[in-house]
Amino acid sequence: MAVSSLFGASIRRREDPRLITGQATYTDDLRLPGMVYASIVRSPHAHARITRIDAAAARRHPGVVAVFTGRDLEGKINPIPTAWLIPNSDLKTPPHPALAVDRVRYAGDGVAVVVADGPYTARDAAALVRVDYEQLPAIVNQEKAVEAGAPQLHEEAPKNVAFTWKLAGGDAKAAFAEAERSGVVVRQRFVNQRLIPNAMETRGVVAKYTSGSGELTVWYTTQNPHIARFLMSVVTGIPEHKVRVVAPEVGGGFGSKIPFYADEAIVAFCAKATGRPVKWTEDRRENYLATIHGRDHITDLEIAARRDGTLLALRGKTWANLGAYLSTAAPGVPTILHGLILTGCYTIPNIDYEVQGVFTNTTPVDAYRGAGRPEATYLIERMVDLVAARVGLDPADVRRKNFIKAEQFPHTTAEGLSYDSGNYGPALDKALELIEYTRLRDVQKQGPKDNRYLGLGLSTYVEICGLGPSAVAGAVGFQGGLWESATVRLHPTGKATVYTGTSPHGQGEETTFAQIVADQLGLPIEDIEVVHGDTGAISMGWGTYGSRSTVVGGAAIAVASQRVRDKAAKIAAHMLEAAESDLTFERGRFSVRGTPDRSKTIQEVTLQAYLAWSLPAGVEPSLEASAFYDPTNFTFPFGTHAVAVKVDADTGQVELRRYVAVDDCGRVINPLIVDGQVHGGIVQGIAQALHEGAAYDADGQLLTGSMSDYAVPRARMFPRFVTGRTETPSPHNPIGVKGVGETGTIASTPAVVNAVMDALKSFGVTHIDMPLTPERIWAAIHKQSDKKAEVKAR
């Protein structure tokens, strides 16, 4: 398939020159004639009744164009919908007004918007909007929120339960009975703490409404402009063909720019109501309060195993905190994207699992890098280590023993997924070799040095990527398709423009997609332009998330390129007066087999396709093709991450000594870009293990509400990562790729926690909830030491 040297080459990114010279245009860089600025007044309380809003002083403030409250929007802006209606779950979808009318449900809930002639003026006037609140008791913990007597958020959701979702496969009851009789059962509670995505660019919107044509144009920090257009249309009532959404340069997303937020609809409303283009740029404080958070699970889990380490069954329940309202994909993240991958890369034939989605007076929770899969991987990978410790085997051996074997693929799991391909053993072996596992185990046996304890941790993961087959999306209640579009258009001069429905924002697909096209059509890469992120230019697309862009969007581009090549071959055959079957195509040149001097370049063919002076019968002019590629299955990247840590027992400080990542993401288009994705993911995942965590007080105030309070990781916290790869192409993907955007985040968290727990085993510490701060580690060591001392004293 790959004939040129471009597929698989670490070429420099084509998007970089504009980014490193300050010429890129992000949403906040836009300035339109007559533009005014919005500032959103947000509730300082987590739960309160609004008794009165007095905007008179704000309206009088010089420079103010308009002030709108929730009442002003009533009937004009529809509630913000959720787009993932998970089936068989009794899902409740209470209304989410764009601006609160009589009640606020989290600190950060919008109550009014001020539009003024400058950003500073807008903020000045926002401070003048007087809102009287009658505070109500708040609830932030999801487990307590479902208890009797807890404060209630929505009438439509009794006991704050948004849904109860169940998953069962095999016979977990029988497996646990067997393990209770003759094997082992390990039980553990896990907290997957709430994280704050922290894309370096906050959200922003510029909205312009032209009343003469009825058209709304929105420049918007989104990962999925077509979904944004659809939802903007639903919420504002402006018909979809009159809405254009443009994602300019987008400064990172990590899932936080998937949802359609109330703020976007508010700004669009302001543009229509005032007749002026309106810009709104979230500040970082607002970003912490009003942009989605991720994770936030509490899980009680038990695993059944035989004494030889054979895993038999998983059983448990998760309380997933959804925050105050259902964000766009929120119901699907802790269920479909989480539960379906719980047994990981192991043959565990029995599962019985329940997830309760719970409303609380906190910022809404939705997809954050990995979205459900990091939570699942953390559970199973921690459990495997706990089983290994219980039965007295090395964690690497327990993993190897339970792996789905290479010859078992395609493999149907207890959860009902069909893993397309895999070969887990070699990735584990390679990681063990790279980290020198055997040698480090020997070093570990020599005991601590200077009270610093060596620990080794593994995580052998598999993830669901390449979202996904549209039929499956429909079956699991996602209110959209998950196919992807591509158009490959050659121009008369032989240059090409490629249109993709994905919306890359840092992942480098302007480069990797051009590599695919260059590979397929033999064009010089500098002759290919990749266009994305504009509903006015691209027919349809589902955007960038779930490690789908290269897998689904890249496949669409490959298919469209093949169609272009097929048409070009017909024209070339006509030009060369040869049969199409006698042609070869190599490095951009059609040649007649056996007479290589009779040939035409793709550029020559393209010109003739446009001139159309002499085309073969039945062939239309021009040279372009589109593809709407709908995958037949997900892809399942896998790998092993291995970590060596040293834990200082005096201080509880963790030092990352060595980090090895062996990932199998199928065929690699650009190794440099893949390494970049892996590195970034690892850092986010390690940060969950060791540093990050959102904290609320009991009244629902976000205590970690700024970058001064929330531990966004810094360069000095990390060693140099060693990356390795194995390559097991996806059998159903046209270019054999599987996705790599989330692997690092999914794999690294449990690997690090396992390493720290391994270091602490001599203290009898078996589990500490994340983040593993020095304080928590120190306390755990001392709690165990105190217990031992107590026992001795008796």
Binding site: L19, I20, Q23, M200, T202, R284, I682, Q684, A715
Partner: protein, 160 residues
């Protein structure tokens, strides 16, 4: 109310009347239209707004425009000369030192300061020197490589 200031940015002199409370970063972005310098936080943590002021790296969100009166400023737009990329820009490009690019202008200006202090920095010095700059995409490793690459170029060492 407004105060007159004169500032030289990337070799061009600008004179404007500004509100005393106007942040330097907003002056650069909104008044001068140099939008390569970004705002990533409200608390001087992220470093996306890092620029050079009188030859030293500063966070432009932490200064008022009036404090820059008479100063010489350099922003990302002033890194390349006559269309030739600065070695730091080359390093970031060659080593894949950026993904979404939002932190990159500030990161490169911080690198400029770092290499001024340590022309041949160790990896630890680079990581320490980036303490004031956050990147959420790259995991920093390729940024470290980029700065090592740039250091080599600036010292005239053979490019690896």
């Amino acid at each position: 109310m407004k105060r007159a200031i004169s500032v030289t940015v990337n070799g061009t002199k600008y004179s404007n009347e500004v509100e005393p409370r106007l942040l330097l970063v907003h002056y650069i972005r909104d008044t001068l239209g140099l939008t390569g310098t970004h705002v990533g936080c409200d608390t001087s943590n992220c470093g996306a707004c890092t620029i050079m002021m009188n030859g030293r790296a500063v966070k432009a969100c932490t200064l008022l425009a009036v404090q820059a009166d008479t100063a010489q400023l350099q922003t990302v737009e002033g890194l390349a000369t006559n269309g030739d990329l600065h070695p730091i820009q080359q390093g970031f490009w060659e080593e894949h030192g950026l993904q979404c690019g939002f932190c990159t202008p500030g990161m490169m200006m911080a690198a400029l300061e770092l290499l001024r202090r340590h022309p041949d920095p160790s990896e630890a010095q680079i990581r320490e020197g980036l303490e004031g700059n956050l990147c959420r995409c790259t995991g920093y490793q390729h940024i470290v490589n980029a700065i090592q690459n740039a250091a080599g170029k600036l010292r005239g060492a053979p490019v690896r």
